[in-house]
Symmetry: C2
Subunit: 333 residues, 2 copies
């Protein structure tokens, strides 16, 4: 569990895209962000107050979150200077970088000396149990995709935001590094050892109030041969009451797999539902989220209407149209 | 890769069952076993020649394989004495114990000093790639089960033995610790990090002669919520041309999951085949192996005949009836 609120470290980001993790945190959990820290030459700007470490500390920030990609997989000396100072000032550090904070000898030594935590969210911090499959109280929804990177995290965050807006009980359950940094908690599922995958999903979605929704971030796709095992563990460990199908309609082939054609929504619906019913016989497919970023407004609406007609399920792009109609469907069960 | 041949260490096994790993090695790869090493009070006997370390060394043994479960998860001092001496005599050590050889400081130090290897087969020794899904040459068969521990490893080893007997090209591909110790190679799939599961299966079943069969050891079950992700990775990483369904008909509930009823063979066939076709559209279900250990001969035969009539697939218990009819079916594709 990462201590909030955060000071978002944008470093020397060469452009806005390099700081997309920070952007995600600011978009979805603005209440967790006291400000941004930018180094000389930084080309990203989240529109938050620029703060020094001292100012952020005074404003209550507990953790400096590295919200920017580093160049060439190296934590530069310029960064180091800030990170070491942050530890000395009493901040924890959190990072989703491939190269781990804990593997940097200077950071590890200063963290130990100061008693501050280094959170490398790519690495599990918990010894997860093996899944026991026992029925849990409360409700759960999982987004399952036709492919990787089709908007499952966005969909889940949008569902969570809409539910909170309506005063429903809801918790976004992160299963990837960006989601973990956004919310401060979750499981980096792709880094969990095989035997404990489903157990880790059970662990982050425990018994809850009957009217509480866990909104579980999806990963991979049952039809993506590289990562389907991870998706499978989410379906069985998550024990979802509802599935939302996520789709990006302009993709010519599965991400990273040029010889693989994306499956139809019907195929994903049938496969995912049949598997989900093993863990939860009551599971239903309740809606479809479409990532229409490569379409104009008119095309996007027409596409969603066409799919809605074919599938008989509320179909929206949560980014364009909001997640309201999906939450309407979830609220009925 | 573990160096063969082996001296099988039975230690102070309290009974034959405690030495079942050694028994498996002796049953399936007798050519890999020069003899057995028994300590005082050992109640297991594989019927191999009892040898001292010196005798086994002279007979060509390269690795001392711990073929016995230890008591209470501790490697006792009595064992240690033998293991250290074995390293000093020039043996490698191989073990599937939960507590790792490498974590024993004395063993690690002696192994380093002598230059001998410690193989803890529960831990992956390879940095596996992410699966790329590219079509590979050669043929592959995978056993998929209605549940865990229904005889998938036995089925695969029996298929491999029958193919070798017929002069077909065949390699058993181990995916669990016992299988790895039997053959000296493979992947401990349940200990692989999620993102690399399918890639590890691709890695151990590379391009091969068009008439060569990889017989891939199955794990878990698509219907076992604790381990289904591992099964999924085998189906997609293994890219099987053929599936054999494995079943144990007397089980009242899924192993370790009292609330879960085992699926029908039809359900496993339909689900596994649909998923397998994502990676290999030509995949077929070609036979059924039944573990009839809790039936008498007559019941076993009647059950297999009944299933064969219902499913229209050759159905045998490879232990009782041999794997010949399954290999007949595989040989036709």
């Amino acid at each position: 569990m990462i201590q909030t609120p955060y000071l978002l470290f944008l470093g020397d980001a060469p452009d806005a895209l390099a700081a997309k993790v920070a952007q995600g945190i600011k978009d979805w959990r603005p209440e967790n962000c006291v400000g941004q820290y930018r180094m000389e030459g930084c080309k990203a700007d989240l529109g938050l107050v620029d703060m020094t470490l001292e100012e952020a500390k005074a404003a209550g920030a507990k953790t400096l979150v590295i919200g920017v990609a580093n160049r060439g997989g190296v934590i530069s000396q310029a960064w180091k200077k800030v990170l070491v100072q942050a530890l000395e000032e009493g901040f924890d550090l959190a990072s989703g970088l491939h190269n781990l904070l804990r593997d940097e000898k200077d950071l590890a030594a200063v963290a130990e000396a100061t008693g501050q935590a280094l959170h490398d969210v790519r690495v599990p911090e918990v010894e997860y149990p093996i899944a026991n499959g026992k029925k849990r109280s409360g409700k759960r929804v999982l987004a399952v995709g036709t492919d990787c990177s089709v908007g499952k995290m966005y969909t889940a965050l949008a569902l969570d935001a809409e539910m909170r807006e309506r005063g429903m009980k809801s918790t976004f359950r992160a299963t990837g590094q960006t989601g973990i940094l956004i919310t401060g908690d979750g499981v980096p599922l792709d880094a969990v050892v095989a035997d404990f995958m489903a157990g880790s999903v059970e662990y982050i979605t425990p018994d809850n109030d009957e009217d509480h929704w866990d909104i579980i971030e999806g990963q991979g796709s049952l039809f993506h041969v590289s990562y389907s095992g991870v998706t499978m563990a989410l379906i069985h460990g998550g024990q979802p009451d509802a599935l939302i199908l996520s789709h990006e309609p302009t993709r010519a082939h599965m991400r990273g797999l040029p010889d693989y054609t994306p499956p139809s929504l019907e195929a994903v619906r049938d496969m995912a539902l049949a598997l989900a019913k093993v863990a939860n016989p009551e599971c239903q497919v309740l809606g479809i989220s479409v990532n229409t970023q490569h379409m104009n407004d008119e095309e996007a609406l027409a596409y969603c209407q066409k799919v809605e007609g074919e599938m008989g399920l509320p179909t929206v792009d949560p980014f364009r149209h909001g997640a309201g109609r999906l939450v309407d469907a979830l609220a009925e069960i």
